[in-house]
């Protein structure tokens, strides 16, 4: 039983910043880089590297566009990312109840 739960604990979410990015994107349609930075209290480089890791796993979608002449990047959670994060949450909850 407990082995089964550990399987659902996703290694990719095993970091505060990545967990944070996913939490924010679960309840918001999208978020901008600066919003994530402010909410998580992370540095540019640190946040960027964790975003890259989540993008590589195809858990988040990056959308680049221009608002006027300013480049603007939006992040949103993919369907896969949302499903995996939900599994991760359920596993966490089960582990606590044990």
């Amino acid at each position: 039983m407990s082995k089964n739960i550990i399987q659902h604990i996703n290694k990719i979410f095993d970091h505060r910043i990545r967990l944070g990015i996913m939490s924010i994107l679960m309840v918001n349609d999208y978020a901008e880089f600066n919003t994530l930075k402010e909410l998580l209290g992370a540095t540019d480089g640190n946040l960027a590297s964790h975003i890259k890791a989540l993008e590589k796993a195809e858990f988040i979608i990056i959308e680049k566009q221009f608002i006027g002449k300013k480049p603007n990047t939006r992040y949103s959670a993919s369907t896969l990312g949302k499903a995996e994060f939900k599994k991760h949450l359920q596993a966490l909850e089960k582990l606590i109840k044990q």
Binding site: S23, I24, V27, T35, L39, L92, L95, I96
Partner: protein, 202 residues
């Protein structure tokens, strides 16, 4: 990882979900004051109508216009108080007053309210003013329910109460005034006090 770590993870997730999607710096005190303004406004309107007319309101008479002006003043004072006290609370908590969460809150609150306001003005211009008390309550209640997704979730229940009172008011227009007093006055004070003790005093 230990059980303690998992627990910390979960509470951090919950905290971030709330912080990123809800504007929670609403001040309970502003609810109490809005209710007080509503009671004062209602008392003025009641006094005007009972002293200067024999229970009949004429739509273009000065009494009706004074009542309408009182209503506008009550709304204006409530909004100004709400903005001031909420700004103060947000500053104290170190959160921004005008960010994506508060913008979303205001937008979702204002849509049912503006639609309701226009609708009431239209039926007033058709001389059907018996429904206006109930309609104000209904649209205000809908605005609260709609906005509750983006703020302190508890305001949803205040919304349900206002809608319920509004429907009674629509069904029994004779009680419209007293239901308005109950909804905008008494309920605001009760709810504001509850919010104040639950969230502000910590």
């Amino acid at each position: 990882m230990t059980q303690q770590d998992y627990l910390k993870d979960l509470s951090e997730i919950k905290d971030l979900m709330n912080k990123s999607s809800r504007f929670i710096s609403l001040s309970g005190l502003s609810g109490i004051l809005a209710g007080t303004y509503a009671l004062i406004g209602a008392a003025i309107a009641y006094w005007l109508v009972t002293t200067y007319s024999n229970g009949v309101l004429i739509l273009d008479g000065w009494i009706f216009r004074s009542c309408l002006l009182t209503l506008v003043l009550v709304a204006a004072f409530s909004i100004i108080t709400g903005i001031l006290l909420t700004t103060r609370k947000a500053k104290k908590q170190g959160t921004k007053i005008w960010d994506s969460t508060s913008k979303r809150l205001v937008l979702n609150f204002i849509i049912p309210l503006v639609v309701g306001g226009l609708y009431i003005l239209i039926i007033l211009s058709q001389g059907k003013y018996g429904q206006s008390g109930g309609l104000m309550l209904i649209f205000y209640g809908l605005a609260l329910v709609n906005a509750s997704k983006y703020s302190i979730g508890d305001i949803r229940y205040l919304g349900y109460i206002q809608i319920f009172l509004g429907l009674i008011g629509a069904w029994q227009p004779g009680f419209g005034f007293w239901l308005w007093v109950l909804g905008f006055g008494v309920m605001h004070i009760i709810y504001g006090s509850w919010m104040h003790f639950k969230y502000d005093i910590k």
